[in-house]
Symmetry: C2
Subunit: 209 residues, 2 copies
């Protein structure tokens, strides 16, 4: 049976609580890892190469794009951020589930390149809940909050591009749902098409499966 990791893309509106849910998932010992991004931004004090980020020059970054070495990339505040394919594939082949926490457009971009990825739309129950959360942060102006709500409206319209929609009513509920999704995805027939060979080999049970 399928023994590789699942590429788990957690996306959804800003304010849905993605960061908190991801932190909770990472507490499950040895089950998940976060993808380490490549960036052109300068390292901050304490940040380590290959741990916090892979730090690269803009020239080097553009080479990565040209070579198709990135699963997805985006530009924020004049800096490039991207997800290196090689790191992700290595972790997956070692059986680790890799979490990408990225915004909706990037998520859809990855799914197109990597159809085996599992796209999760993490969301509060209503846009009212989202507004309450964003107001609760008290770190953003009304203008920014309204911009985020407008985006959320667009994003929820892209639900058909996703595999699952997970309500984040309680962090514990959301992480349990995501854990169950990851486990059952490993039984998907599409991931186990080589099962027939294993089944037909008469040399007994493969205990590594």
């Amino acid at each position: 049976m399928y023994n590789k990791g699942i590429l788990l893309i957690i996306s959804g509106p800003s304010g849905a609580g993605k960061g908190t849910v991801v932190k909770e998932l990472l507490k499950e010992e040895g089950k998940y890892c976060l993808s380490t991004s490549v960036t052109t931004r300068a390292p901050r004090p304490g940040e380590e190469e290959g741990v916090s980020y892979y730090f690269r020059t803009e020239k080097e970054f553009k080479k990565l794009i040209e070579n198709g070495s990135l699963l997805e990339y985006a530009i924020f505040c004049g800096n490039f951020y991207g997800t290196p394919t090689k790191y992700v594939e290595q972790q997956l082949s070692e059986g680790k589930n890799v979490i990408l926490e990225i915004e909706v457009q990037g998520a859809i971009q990855v799914k197109e390149k990597y159809p085996d990825a599992v796209l999760i739309f993490l969301t509060p129950e209503t846009i009212q809940d989202l507004q309450d959360r964003l107001r609760g942060r008290a770190t953003e102006t009304d203008e920014v909050i309204n911009m985020r709500l407008r985006r959320a409206r667009e994003e929820v319209g892209l639900l058909n591009k996703y595999d699952y929609v997970v309500l984040n009513d309680l962090v514990r509920n959301a992480t349990e749902r995501i854990n169950a999704i990851v486990e059952t995805e490993k039984f998907r027939a599409a991931r186990n098409l080589d099962f027939s060979e294993q089944f037909l080999s008469k040399k007994g049970v493969d205990t590594n499966a």
Copy 2:
């Protein structure tokens, strides 16, 4: 979120233990029901109309086929057996997960008509295990067992038509896997495309602001 039942088709090679797993699933109070079949065979003592089967004449049965009232049907020993669409849809709309335990060709037939159905290929780990099980029954001749093994070889080649492959190494493991699949299937985005309306319906949020 999705609040209808899941049409769960449990199929796989003869000797995989489908009957035992289905019996175990039905023990979960109120969660599953078995589809009641229509048949042209005569009622046996104690069998009740609408409970054991819906008993119909061959003429009535053929009418059901013509009207497209059956999800699938097959002929065994000169009698017709079929699954009435109406009963299944009623149970699903009441939030009950409906189990169909049918052979592989019938399963694929249902999936084509009803893409929302979840097709589970229930199987032992190897064809050797299957052979041991069939021998263990001690109810069938070597000839029949060999015929079943030949069919199993063909059936496992149809895995790509299925949604999930579930190992029946232990009945308890198999039922836990199937329960988890049914729960996570309810989060599938494709079953929740109306979520965006629910998400946006709350009054008091001016997302156009």
